[in-house]
Symmetry: C3
Subunit: 344 residues, 3 copies
């Protein structure tokens, strides 16, 4: 399938882009170099010098510019070569592609399509890691798999009862037995569901008591932005709410924010943060919550990379959709539509 | 060349299939999951869930069934899905292929062709590792090579004089200088030969004396079942037998039983056991005999994997058969015939 | 692009070919075995037994001959099989290709084309590592890259100012800012240039003083033979020489001799020696000079292997030549001509 070009892709955690240190990443199979110059401004260029096709990410930041450290061509932030050592004339085609790049909340976003259509307002809302109202911890994981397999996973949380039965699944068969409500949103889907009468574990058991009702909701937006809130409520709240979203604030809120970025046909990068409101969680408990979360994400990785290998072994083999697949099916249909739109 | 489907393939040593622990193996490039359920019965299915193509080998055994631990589909031993979480209807095509699987002696065998033709009696005879009459030790080795290159090796023991001159070759040029007698057997070849007037080495020298006559014979059956007996006799027995098979029991019998399984076009698994009659060998001597044997098998692996690389570097290059090649040539002709038979 | 066949290629340092130890190397994608027999004579054959295509490099040297240690075929130095175990008749096509091979100075050279055209005199002149007039240290490095990318690098030393600014570049922007004089030579190019008014570093600062004029010259001959002399002169010599080659001997001569060998389409081997006249350098200083040189060669390797990956990611992408590229451009044009010549 074609990639969708006119979209913001997460290139990394903002904190990982240090001053004057170019970062190499491939997005949609294209080599990109991103750097934060000495004035703290980000720039993103095609990561391939026009001269001899060496990577600019091995280059040196000079003020607002980036110099290729193979033979010294100097690039400005628009991708234009402004200096060729020992030569006065700069050919007009001495230029690499520049990509719109924005830092918003805690992610750096790159627009891979028509620059004229890049709209900062289209970047999905997420939390900043340094928001004082929250304690969040961030990580990332590289997959040898197509990004839509990871999206499928996040669009169907029924797998929590099986793949994560001992980690995130909370021993709750309801993840699989009961279907969430879905509603379309801009370039994505909104999910919500109640999981009633659940025994909390670990530190939550101490603070929340023997039973809780859990309200889980998330937005999932192309290309793979997952913004989830899981609220823990006193038992009975699910019924009192008539199965709808609760009005009261929860006793505890688990926050999960994730992004999936297509690196290439069989490579994806998965960014994730997890945490809770500052008042709800102490730093050491956040560490434990995050550690369990990373165990679970490696459970996914094992399954999805094996799934990718089986798909590649027999690419003609079709999946068999079940009622579990409302989310993945609707989302993939939307992605097909996006991929057919002209990139220009 | 096409694979031969209507055949039993060794999937592993029976002892390596523990209760309720699914094992993943590819045979003929197909993913297979094999498990021994809580009633000790084996089952073998295509290792790919119909739902989202995840491997069932990461699943959980439940009684006689196997559950996919991605989204929870439950399979019975015929490959039929019997449960989809949160859904009552099971589509009739929710089914994966089931393979006939048998445990016989100490190997687990899988039939990769038409199940109606699977005949347990067609499994070649081999020794059980726990036969009280023998002391045997078992191992296995993965090759990055086509299985017929390993078969070629076993079908022409002249290489013992060279590849294994310091290990299994026993310093005997006769392996190469003299041709064995060959006779066709069902789906294979029978080999036998005398190697006369040989000085035994190691512990055999102590028990057998300065010189022995050695009678070597083996059956080699498709896809790569090697059942060998090497008898050590008093000097003069070869001549007294007129070059034919001896009537008397040997002073010492070396037993070798091996199986080659095609995993994929450039992957094979080699199973082997070596030993002797219980009365002939003490456990520590078996350890030494087996250690030398494994050194020799790694000599083969080095040669055969290098040979495979050279073949792939120039696939048009033809081998030049010599009189050494009667075994490999006859066997490959038979394999060509088997591969042309319809699989159904 | 086709390989150039009628050329001497460096197969290794002479010292690395021990008596009776066959060495495996691929050149132009062809498997070659080279050995030095017990009479110290080199031979080079196609590294693939006619019988079952096993590598002869795993074989055993026997006098002037080489025996395949899979099934025992014996080869003479012309590539003819002279013995097949257990068989009297040797088929006339039992023969592998023999390559002309010569040891000259400290390299072993193999001719990959028409043997009738192999002319020892066409081997470029280089120093012997054991020449008492010099102290030289040798090494080698394997690249995952096409050999012409390494040639490009050596044909345009402007990269010293950038890629090696802290190692071989000597902090001199002149490498990039000033163009060397080029002149065609037999199958190659001659380069020379003055780099005036340069502050020496390290031990050279102590012996040469605060400033020197540097005269750099080298021949670069197909397939990648780089023979360089860098002379250090008293300040003012550049001007006094009118920019031409100096007549006087330098205060210090740095010697660099290198060879690039195409192993395959994306594999090359890079041989290098560096040093100085014996009177100019103590052994411990040679060690330091060589250590810095190897750091620099790894700087090249990082850049060139990344460049190769970017080329393969989009093979249609063209380089954009600049005035830096006179050397690479002229050389590649010459290589195109050589590659079009018939090999026979």
């Amino acid at each position: 399938m074609n990639y969708v070009r006119n979209t913001w892709y997460v290139a990394g955690w903002a904190q990982d882009f240090e001053l004057n240190k170019p970062v190499s990443i491939a997005i949609l199979g294209e080599p990109v170099v991103i750097w934060r110059n000495s004035e703290n401004a980000l720039a993103a260029l095609e990561n391939r010098c026009v001269h001899r096709l060496a990577p600019l990410s091995l280059g040196r930041c000079e003020g607002q510019k980036l110099r290729c450290m193979y033979h010294g061509l100097l690039y400005d932030r628009t991708g234009a070569v402004t200096e060729i050592p020992g030569q006065d004339l700069i050919p007009p085609n001495a230029k690499v592609r520049a990509y719109p790049v924005r830092e918003k909340h805690s992610w750096v976003w790159v627009w891979m399509g028509d620059a004229a259509k890049a709209d900062r307002a289209a970047i999905p809302p997420s939390l900043a890691l340094d928001d004082p109202g929250y304690r969040l911890k961030a990580g990332q994981l590289d997959y040898t798999a197509h990004y839509l397999l990871i999206d499928d996973n996040l669009l169907d949380l029924s797998h929590l009862s099986f793949a994560h039965e001992k980690t995130l699944g909370l021993d709750m068969p309801q993840w699989a037995d009961q279907r969430p409500r879905l509603a379309p949103i801009e370039r994505g889907l909104h999910f919500e569901r109640w999981l009633a009468d659940h025994p909390p574990r670990g530190f939550m058991k101490k603070t929340l008591g023997e039973r809780v009702d859990v309200f889980n909701r998330y937005d999932f937006v192309f290309p793979g932005i997952f913004l989830q809130r899981t609220g823990f409520y006193p038992p009975g709240t699910a019924q009192a709410s008539g199965g709808q979203a609760p009005e009261a604030a929860p006793l505890f809120w688990r926050i999960d924010e994730q992004a999936v970025t297509p690196i290439g046909p069989r490579a994806s990068r998965y960014f994730y943060a997890a945490g809770a409101r500052t008042d709800d969680i102490e730093p050491d408990r956040l560490e434990r919550l995050f550690a369990v979360t990373e165990v679970a994400f490696n459970e996914d990785k094992t399954l999805i990379e094996a799934q990718q290998k089986l798909i590649d072994l027999d690419p003609e083999r079709r999946m068999l959709p079940t009622s579990l697949d409302a989310g993945p099916t609707q989302f993939r249909k939307m992605v097909d539509g996006l991929a057919r739109q002209p990139a220009g």
